[in-house]
């Protein structure tokens, strides 16, 4: 049962991610990305990490994807956009990222073939539910937690400054 669910969810995730990349209409891309996020949340549930699944939906599907939609609406990217002209630097960076990702995937497959676990699974009896995450977060992972708040502060300040510099000086709309 669990295996069937895993393969269905994984297939949906991969297919919708591919659809997101290949679709020319940005709004459809966002919708497909949301489908991907939902199936990944399903995978988290299969891993007993219900807290992460919920957070994944709340933050990514519920907040960041809305932001994406807003950007698309703000810029009014039409369905018939011409293919985006990548600059040379971006192409090199994209290639680099692809190779890193492929390398990591290869490493994981290679290590698991050799019988070594490439990643640490959840131990028996450890659940990724809210209380266990809370206890770990406020004891063992205290510093990352506090640093996260500083990161969020930087994000707010950055957002406001960017919005001001790029778009404010234009003539105000009536």
């Amino acid at each position: 049962m669990q295996e069937i669910l895993f393969f269905v969810l994984a297939a949906v995730a991969v297919l919708s991610a591919l659809g997101m990349l290949l679709n020319k209409n940005p709004v459809y891309s966002v919708l497909l990305l949301i489908v991907t996020l939902f199936s990944i949340a399903g995978l988290y549930v299969l891993l007993n990490a219900s807290f992460i699944a919920a957070v994944h939906l709340i933050v990514y599907a519920g907040a960041i994807m809305v932001l994406f939609l807003f950007v698309i609406m703000l810029l009014d990217i039409r369905a018939d956009v011409e293919h985006i002209n990548l600059k040379r630097l971006s192409r090199i960076l994209a290639l680099l990222a692809t190779f890193i990702f492929l390398g990591e995937t290869f490493l994981i497959i290679w290590m698991s073939l050799k019988g070594k676990a490439a990643f640490v699974g959840l131990g028996e009896g450890i659940l990724g539910d809210v209380p266990s995450v809370g206890e770990l977060l406020f004891t063992k992972y205290l510093l990352p937690f506090e640093i996260a708040s500083v990161l969020l502060l930087v994000a707010i300040v950055g957002a406001i400054i960017l919005a001001k510099r790029k778009l404010r000086p234009e003539p105000p709309a009536a």
């Binding site: 299969l46 809305v66 932001l67 703000l74 708040s149």
Partner: protein, 150 residues
């Protein structure tokens, strides 16, 4: 554990089936008589001018960004709230620091005016905007205008 989530999953399917059934029934019952006039964009009988897209205020975007950040904050607060009684003062101090740093962010956005939205420019009464107009009309009229423009 998995069984917990089987129920909402089944629920989603049943709900989707319910919606599809509604649409199907309505599809069978409704007439389909398209006409050019009916299909035009609704603008109170006027023919729409220009594109449906409007240049909207950048504030909407900034608000969404601030929302994303506070959303993440809530996500961090929830596990704390569950275990907070067991962890006591120590966890309390941690969270106060966490919330305080985010409040600095909110205060920054507030100070920079990103939480301000356009207000009507006249004062509390329309009279303050154009006093000479109000002197010309009688007191009764003045009161009516005042009520209407409020």
């Amino acid at each position: 554990m998995l069984l917990h989530f089987a129920a909402p999953f089944i629920f989603v399917i049943v709900a989707a089936a319910f919606i599809a059934l509604n649409l199907l029934i309505s599809r069978l019952l409704q007439p389909r008589v398209p006409s050019a006039g009916k299909n035009t964009t609704y603008e109170c009988g006027e023919i729409p001018i220009g594109s449906s897209w409007v240049q909207f205020n950048i504030r909407f975007y900034v608000i969404t960004l601030i929302f994303v950040i506070f959303d993440v904050e809530i996500v961090f607060l929830v596990p704390w709230a569950v275990v907070f009684k067991d962890l006591g003062w120590f966890a309390f101090v941690e969270v106060v620091i966490f919330v305080f740093i985010l409040l600095v962010g909110l205060a920054y956005a507030w100070r920079k005016g990103d939480l301000e939205w356009d207000k009507p420019e006249t004062g509390k009464f329309a009279r303050d905007a154009a006093p000479q107009l109000f002197e010309e009309v009688g007191t009764e009229r003045q009161q009516t205008v005042q009520e209407v423009t409020l």
